[in-house]
């Protein structure tokens, strides 16, 4: 399983991109912000796209009573995610290597993929929960209070993925480089499974 093993190793190594590049990105444009403000969500914390974006987003959000964007130490996720990703990279690489030298079955590749997918989905769920809290857990003394037609307070939750109009802001939320590297890497591991299956059959 030379080819499959290499694919598996490379695929899992691509997840290392998450340490350098953002997983996700949220951009906020408005008439007054022709150059949109932006947040890059890294597995280690949230950073502004430009130097003062976080400060400026917080400044605007105080009008509607949103909390400030959390610092890395204020969310357990930013300590845990790097460890989980590191563990998965190591695990994937070891599985790939053992596959490469023919010590384990191709089925392990699928096992890693499913395990990673479950962790990924849990991560997305957690991220969405945070967005929900961030967008709707508002200061009751907010300067501006906007309600829905039914009288409930408006939520400023940014979309998990895609576009949404929030008052004067156009909000776009999409995966970023690190996220795409993870998707490509994970796809490579599933390819590794099928290639491995073929190679395994040829040998056995």
């Amino acid at each position: 399983m030379k080819k499959a093993g290499v694919l598996m190793m490379l695929g899992s190594l691509l997840l290392l991109g998450l340490y350098s590049f953002p997983l996700w990105n949220i951009m906020l444009g408005a008439p007054q912000y022709p150059e949109p403000l932006g947040m890059n969500i890294h597995i280690t914390g949230i950073q502004g796209v430009s130097e003062f974006d976080i400060q400026n987003i917080d400044g605007l959000n105080h009008y509607i009573g949103m909390k400030t964007i959390p610092k890395p130490e204020e969310m357990w996720e930013f300590q845990t995610f790097p460890k989980v990703i590191g563990g998965m990279v190591a695990l994937g690489f070891i599985i790939g290597f053992l596959g490469f030298i023919g010590r384990i079955s191709y089925k392990w590749f699928l096992f890693w993929f499913i395990f990673m997918s479950v962790l990924g989905l849990l991560g997305m769920y957690d991220f969405n929960e945070w967005l929900l809290d961030y967008g709707s857990n508002l200061d009751p003394h907010a300067i501006i209070k906007v309600t829905n037609p039914d009288g409930t307070p408006m939520s400023y939750k940014p979309p998990l993925i895609g576009f949404k109009k929030l008052l004067n802001f156009d909000v776009t939320s999409l995966p970023h480089t690190g996220g795409y590297m993870m998707f490509v890497g994970m796809s490579m591991t599933i390819i590794a499974f099928f290639v491995g299956k073929k190679e395994w059959k040829a040998i056995h």
Partner: protein, 652 residues
């Protein structure tokens, strides 16, 4: 009778031809022309102009920023004049910028902007401009678009042949218009001739920070030094000054200074004098002049009074200065992009005189002199003449170049711009200006690399060009497309103040460097307040210092008590925003100065001397946010005898 009626019919028919054809013809020609001209100057909403133009404000003392080809004004940069719009010259931080050896001067007459160069090409780092009346040179940053430095020029009076810079911004040069006694002394004006001197100042520019320092002044004969330009390329190292009043008259100059058939262009080999000075040459003479420097870190200007200046008598440095006879009181002194041709715009001459640098060097080497003036060799007119443009117009003033071998000269009296060819001296085209044009500008038109697409003429007289605005009107300017053989008038636009000259540059050279905010982390103002914890009110005798911050949409603190009548209150206000284009203003009722306009990350100080007991408001003047109107505060002023302690708060 029959014959007569035939004639009448014939005449009527002729008249009908005239009336029916001509307007039609004119209309279609105008229609086609105006529609294409409109397209050429139309910059769609949200689009950017292709060029910046920095137009001097003349008696406004400032510098205005325009876009080309739209002719839209973007900004007025305060330089030599107080500017209540943003508090320049009123705030404690900027007041030192206007200090001189005569004390604080709130105004000047700004004339000739020139953009810094590297290897003869515009580099867009700084723009320099002269104050004419109280001789000064200013340096304006083209990243912050703020005045960063002003140096006074001693021994000078009517700082007119300024501020032109050498090929690598080694020097910014300031020449005197008036000759004066040097040093100044109480003497009879009638003893002018032979006793007054004209100082030509070479101010070095630090290549990294742009800081200016007067390296030396050449004390020339008592002529009037009108305009100047540097040599470039082959003539780099030389500087050329036009002179008038070589008669050395001291009264009724319009007659008495127009008697000589030829005045001079003075050619100064500044490299030679620089070498002389570097070897200890020249004399340090006592002089009083201010050097004002604005520090971007502390957001504060400091003024230093300098006490001496190095002067050089041309006779000490043989071979450094020559005089080139030039007909009839030449005004503009312009050097072509190659550095070969020196145009003397003899304002009372029928012809336009062009000197050759190569011929000048040849005449100097062969010592072909025609006498001297106060020991300075005079060259033969014929020996240095490259050619003349014959009868091009009336009253030539200034010439610029398009980099394609053509020159463009303004004619004040005949109110036109004439395009002519370098080398053949033939006139190619002429277009009227509206009216009585002074300077003209081609972006980079006085550098080694002009950008010969647009030319604009700045006029002295406006008359009927715009809707009338009473006896006083802004001056008009016209923009021409010079990319073709013939010039095409595109646009007529008003300018601000009394513009003399302008420097223009393709936008892409500088727009990317334009600063958006000042970083709070780099704010070194001693009285900044970067957080609520830094805000405080401190009494020091009668002086009360308020350390205040501002952010959308409040001041911190916004309730202050314990101030008394007779106190002097200093508001030190820091704008905590770090977002582009979110300045806040500050206005205090009864302040005898101006408002403050504070850009993000900046600290500014306004002084207020409360005169009446009461509770007095202050507010933000720049509509900063939806809650701008809520951005306000109160100060309680108690009687001078009150014992109320200082207190301050926000949101209590």
């Amino acid at each position: 009778m029959k014959k007569l009626s035939y004639s009448i019919i014939a005449l009527l028919g002729f008249a009908m031809v005239l009336t029916s054809c001509n307007p039609k013809g004119d209309n279609s020609a105008n229609g086609a022309l105006s529609s294409s001209a409109a397209e050429k100057v139309y910059v769609a909403p949200g689009e950017h102009d292709s060029h910046y133009a920095f137009i001097s404000g003349g008696y406004s003392g400032n510098l205005t920023v325009y876009g080309l080809p739209s002719g839209r004004m973007f900004k007025e940069i305060p330089v030599f004049s107080q500017f209540p719009t943003n508090g320049y010259g009123y705030s404690e931080e900027t007041k030192p910028m206007l200090e001189t050896s005569y004390g604080f001067i709130p105004w000047d007459d700004s004339h000739h902007p020139d953009i810094s160069q590297t290897k003869g090409e515009l580099d867009g780092r700084w723009i320099f401009i002269n104050g004419n009346n109280t001789p000064r040179i200013a340096r304006v940053s083209l990243t912050t678009f703020e005045t960063e430095e002003i140096i006074e020029v001693p021994n000078s009076a009517g700082n007119h042949s300024s501020s032109f810079i050498t090929e690598n911004t080694e020097y910014v040069v300031a020449g005197t218009r008036f000759s004066v006694p040097i040093p100044q002394k109480d003497m009879s004006i009638k003893d002018y001739k032979g006793n007054f001197k004209g100082a030509l100042s070479f101010i070095s520019v630090d290549p990294e920070h742009g800081h200016m320092d007067i390296k030396f002044q050449v004390l020339m004969p008592g002529f009037n030094y009108d305009l100047s330009h540097p040599g470039r390329g082959k003539s780099h190292g030389w500087f050329f000054f036009t002179t008038y009043n070589t008669e050395e008259a001291n009264s009724l100059l319009e007659v008495n200074a127009s008697q000589n058939d030829k005045d001079f262009i003075a050619a100064i080999n500044w490299k030679k004098i620089e070498e002389y000075v570097n070897n200890g040459g020249g004399t340090m003479m006592p002089a009083d002049y201010a050097h004002n420097v604005y520090d971007e870190g502390t957001h504060t200007a400091t003024s230093t009074m300098k006490k001496e200046v190095r002067v050089v008598n041309p006779s000490e440095v043989p071979g450094a200065v020559y005089l080139l006879p030039t007909p009839k009181s030449p005004h503009g002194c312009d050097v072509d992009p190659s550095g070969e041709y020196i145009v003397g715009n003899g304002k009372l001459s029928a012809n336009l005189t062009v000197h050759s640098f190569t011929k000048m060097i040849d005449a100097i080497e062969n010592k072909k002199f025609d006498g001297d003036a106060y020991g300075i060799p005079i060259l033969n007119f014929e020996d240095v003449l490259a050619g003349s443009v014959e009868q091009p117009g009336l009253g030539p003033l200034h010439t610029e170049f398009d980099g394609k071998g053509n020159a463009y000269t303004t004619f004040f009296i005949s109110s036109e711009v004439v395009k002519w060819k370098l080398g053949t001296w033939e006139v190619i085209d002429r277009k009227p200006t509206y009216y009585s044009v002074g300077h003209l500008t081609i972006p980079g038109g006085n550098s080694a690399k002009p950008f010969g697409k647009y030319m604009f003429a700045m006029n002295k007289i406006t008359k009927d060009r715009y809707l009338p605005t009473g006896p006083e009107m802004e001056h008009s300017a016209q923009l021409y497309d010079i990319s073709g053989d013939k010039m095409e008038l595109l646009l007529d636009f008003p300018t601000h103040g009394e513009p003399h000259y302008a420097a223009a540059i393709p936008a892409e050279i500088i727009k990317k460097n334009s600063k958006k905010i000042y970083k709070l982390a780099e704010n070194e103002h001693p009285k900044k307040a970067l957080s609520d914890a830094d805000t405080k009110v401190v009494r020091d005798g009668k002086n009360v210092h308020i350390y205040m911050s501002m952010i959308r949409s409040h001041f911190s603190p916004d309730n202050i008590e314990g101030v008394k009548v007779g106190d002097k209150v200093f508001f030190h206000i820091t704008n905590l925003e770090q977002d582009f284009d979110v300045p806040h203003g500050f206005a205090m009722i009864g302040a005898n100065n101006a408002e403050l306009l504070i850009t993000p990350g900046q600290t500014r100080t306004l002084t207020w001397e409360p005169k009446k007991v009461g509770v007095w408001p202050f507010y933000c003047t720049d509509f900063c946010s939806a809650l701008h109107q809520e951005m306000q505060g109160y100060i309680r002023v108690s009687p001078a005898s009150s014992n109320l302690e200082l207190s301050w708060s926000l949101g209590e």
